[in-house]
């Protein structure tokens, strides 16, 4: 047979290969059935892989969930006022009347002010070089600060009426670590502003504002008497009615300083914490307090609404970043530090 005499077979359309789904499944099952050891080992490998993934994700998610649960437990109705800056960059000062004015506001459940004692540093004893302040600041505070901050005492008690008359001090959690004071049993003393103070309590970490952890608190009367502190708050913490948080926030700046309301910054500490959790890759779960969270800009005088609750972690992060102090954005792994705000007085060091 030669090519010249031959003719090609009919070049019809090629019949396609077909594998119906039912046969695909039955063939797959047959493969599983006939090679059981291989199937079992494959399943084991897949299970180990998935388990590892779940564990890795779960650990992170669990930590975040714990943080969010802790925030919810502490309450999301805490607001913080701090003095800002003028348009020319000068530091504003909250008036002494701001605390009683806020206390009279409707829907304000409680409030506590903190007064920076910038002229005093604290040391374990007078032999410590003056430059070694350990980054610990000194603030004057009222008796109800732990209550407003939902903070507890790990040892002793907070400032009380006795503290108004005698030199007594309470340590924040980090300050206690730095000063290596674990409890207040016996007669523990501190050298604060060239005076010996008795340590009467140690606070646990203030989750909603950890800048308080590196602070030593004394009473305002003592601070006024010994260090000539003016009663102008450096921070005011306000607990608002849970259902009226935005409304209260809108009024806080004008109430605190009616003449210079633009110079007051209002923020919600729980927002920054939730934004931090969201920035770690998982949107925090919705809670009654956070569902309608907003961030406020007292300078603009109007709230910036989030488009939807818990739906945009990026938006929340950006919002929190706006409401956070300037240096907080440059230190993503650290808590906002009010001491470094422009409105705050110089570091105790």
């Amino acid at each position: 047979m030669t090519a010249t005499t031959a003719r090609l077979a009919r070049p019809d359309r090629i019949a396609p290969a077909r594998l119906p789904l039912s046969q695909l499944i039955s063939t797959a099952l047959q493969a599983l059935r006939t090679r059981r050891l291989r199937a079992a080992l494959s399943a084991l490998g897949i299970a180990i892989g998935i388990g590892a993934m779940v564990a890795v994700v779960g650990i992170s998610a669990s930590a975040q969930a714990n943080l969010i649960a802790e925030i919810d437990a502490l309450g999301t109705n805490l607001l913080r006022l701090t003095p800002g800056q003028t348009l020319l960059g000068a530091n504003e000062v909250l008036p002494a009347t701001s605390v009683p004015m806020i206390g009279h506001m409707q829907n304000v459940l409680s409030d506590a002010a903190v007064y920076q004692v910038s002229s005093a540093n604290v040391y374990r004893n007078p032999l410590v070089p003056t430059a070694q302040t350990g980054g610990i600041g000194v603030d004057a505070a009222g008796e109800n600060l732990p209550e407003v901050m939902s903070a507890t005492m790990t040892s002793g008690h907070f400032l009380d009426s006795v503290s108004d008359r005698f030199p007594e001090a309470v340590l924040g959690a980090e300050a206690a670590d730095v000063l290596q004071i674990g409890h207040v049993g016996g007669h523990v003393m501190l050298y604060l502003g060239n005076t010996w103070f008795t340590v009467v309590g140690i606070m646990s970490s203030a989750t909603l504002d950890t800048s308080l952890d590196s602070t030593v608190f004394i009473s305002l009367p003592v601070a006024e008497r010994m260090f000539a502190v003016q009663p102008n708050p450096s921070e005011i913490y306000v607990r608002a009615n849970q259902n009226q948080v935005p409304q209260v926030s809108n009024l806080l700046a004008a109430t605190a300083d009616p003449q210079q309301s633009d110079g007051v910054q209002v923020s919600r500490p729980s927002d920054a914490l939730e934004a931090r959790a969201a920035a770690k890759g998982q949107s925090p779960r919705c809670s009654p307090g956070s569902a309608r969270s907003r961030c406020w800009s007292a300078r603009s005088g109007s709230p910036t609404s989030w488009s939807s609750a818990c739906s945009s972690a990026a938006a929340r992060s950006a919002c929190a970043a706006r409401s956070a102090p300037p240096d907080a954005t440059s230190q993503p792994n650290s808590w906002p530090n009010p001491r470094s705000w422009p409105c705050s007085a110089a570091s105790p060091a």
């Binding site: 070049p11 290969a17 046969q23 039955s26």
Partner: protein, 224 residues
């Protein structure tokens, strides 16, 4: 008579300017039985894989059952192999975990026929190769000759136009090998086109047409 396989100036080149096939032209008519012989590395298996559309030629025209392979998609070539081409390999390539019947039925998987029909065709093919008593035996329970007969049954069960066998007796003793070759001749006599690669001159002598390959080229073709 119509042409089942046609290679026209076909070359197969691998990277590094290695030519497995060089300007090979060959035509095989329908029902023809062809033996391809040659030393190792002469391009026999490459030519068979090009004929079976398992590989595409680098240059030249390849037509299988009248279809131009160069213009066909991979899916179309899969269809062409599923319906028109049966393969028999030296290594059998049987599924050790399933019975002979299902091994043969599995060879028709891509024809789209239901399992019952495939099993019916597989039973007929196995009976035809003399393995009626081994339908439900798994390959490890069979001799080498029986396994190769299962492989042959798998190749012919779908009644392909072309059967390509690559040294089907390479793993068999002379007696079993002879039986397999006789079986292939018998099956091909029904009208299938058979192209068989072998090293053994005695086997090639039983074919009406022999193609001798050397260094990727056809050194001798009895049809020319």
């Amino acid at each position: 008579m119509s042409i089942a396989l046609s290679l026209e100036a076909v070359s197969k080149e691998y990277p590094g300017e290695v030519f497995a096939l060089r300007d090979v032209s060959v035509q095989v008519t329908r029902g023809e039985q062809v033996a391809v012989v040659g030393p190792s590395g002469s391009g026999k298996t490459t030519m068979l894989t090009v004929m079976g559309t398992l590989e595409r030629a680098t240059r030249g025209e390849v037509r299988v059952a009248g279809h131009d392979v160069a213009g066909a998609s991979d899916a179309e070539l899969a269809g062409l192999r599923a319906h028109q081409v049966g393969f028999v390999f030296q290594e059998f390539h049987l599924h050790d975990a399933v019975a002979a019947l299902d091994n043969v039925a599995l060879g028709m998987l891509y024809t789209g026929r239901p399992l019952s029909q495939r099993r019916e065709a597989a039973r007929a093919a196995l009976e035809r190769v003399g393995l009626r008593h081994r339908l439900m035996h798994r390959p490890p329970m069979m001799s080498g000759g029986e396994r190769q007969r299962v492989a042959i049954a798998r190749a012919i069960a779908k009644r392909p136009l072309i059967v390509l066998a690559d040294e089907p007796t390479g793993n068999l003793d002379s007696k079993s090998g002879g039986e397999v070759i006789d079986l292939l001749h018998e099956l091909a006599s029904d009208g299938a086109t058979l192209v068989l690669i072998t090293h053994e001159e005695t086997i090639a002598a039983g074919f009406a047409r022999r193609i001798q390959m050397r260094d990727g080229e056809i050194a001798f073709d009895e049809a020319q």
